[in-house]
Symmetry: C2
Subunit: 141 residues, 2 copies
DNA sequence: CTTATTGCAAAAAATTTGCAGGTAA
DNA sequence: TTACCTGCAAATTTTTTGCAATAAG
């Protein structure tokens, strides 16, 4: 586990365990959005007896400490990814399932507009739609 | 059930049943986002023995026929609302749980920007953040 | 009449919780 | 040594499915 996360946990009185290290490392290394189940599977490759409930509890903790982000990219399932310094947003293609990350500077005037017209501060944005060049397999994330 | 939905169903060879009528009416009358469970509860007020599975099957059908929209306003649960002529987008306040509808004209230059820069056609947008005037109860939709 | 649709019960999928024993600090 | 953390099993919660009976067209 990177110094960053270890330190945060220890500073706050939590313990550093192999399970927590592995969950964190899986998320760091993948760089993708993963479901709890996918995370568990990857963790178990290195540490076979790790339990789903531990994975869920670890994710809950990491989310609470703002080390991990829970995102909503479609119905039914939760996805997790490392919380990065620079916030990002998602484009979700509903045909091919591709997910693209964009950043604040790609949002044009929307954040200012929402704040001015709606009194709403945008933090994270998900755009459902379709990419112009997609095959159209209609898979979900 | 409005002529609109009834006709669509019948034209496609589906049957019109009291259960389907009620699910549709509940969605029309509420105008809100409702979970399958909420819909079922409201339907049962008028028709007590209607089953959850019927509600799920009806929603699945109405979504398939583009009469109802399934939206993703947070993890864990699916919400349903009537698919309107004019598409709309959601602002979700993560403090007070309030959901505001906005329309294409409130999006500024974002859709054009995404299409030009990312080759992505935005269809529906969800913005998570917080309203400036909210109490901050931290409830979910 | 015909077969799409329903209710019921049971299964599946996703997540949470209680508890006794294990282990980081 | 202490009490936080884990694994296990069982409970919840949300959604889906199989099947015989019912009702729409």
């Amino acid at each position: 586990m990177t110094h960053h996360a270890t330190q945060t946990l220890l500073e706050l009185g939590y313990r550093m365990t192999p399970q927590r290290t592995l969950v964190w490392d899986v998320l760091r290394q993948s760089g993708e959005h993963l479901t709890a189940e996918q995370i568990c599977a990857r963790v178990q490759e290195q540490f076979p007896h790790v339990n789903m409930s531990t994975v869920y509890r670890t994710l809950e903790l990491l989310v609470e400490l703002n080390l991990v982000k829970e995102t909503c990219l479609g119905p039914s399932r939760r996805y997790y990814e490392v919380e990065e310094e620079v916030p990002h947003h998602h484009l979700v293609c509903e045909h091919c399932g591709k997910i693209v990350h964009i950043h604040d500077e790609d949002l044009g005037n929307l954040p200012r507009l929402l704040e001015r017209e709606q009194g709403f501060v945008a933090e994270e944005l998900t755009v459902f739609g379709h990419c112009l060049d997609c095959g159209g397999d209609h898979a979900h994330p």
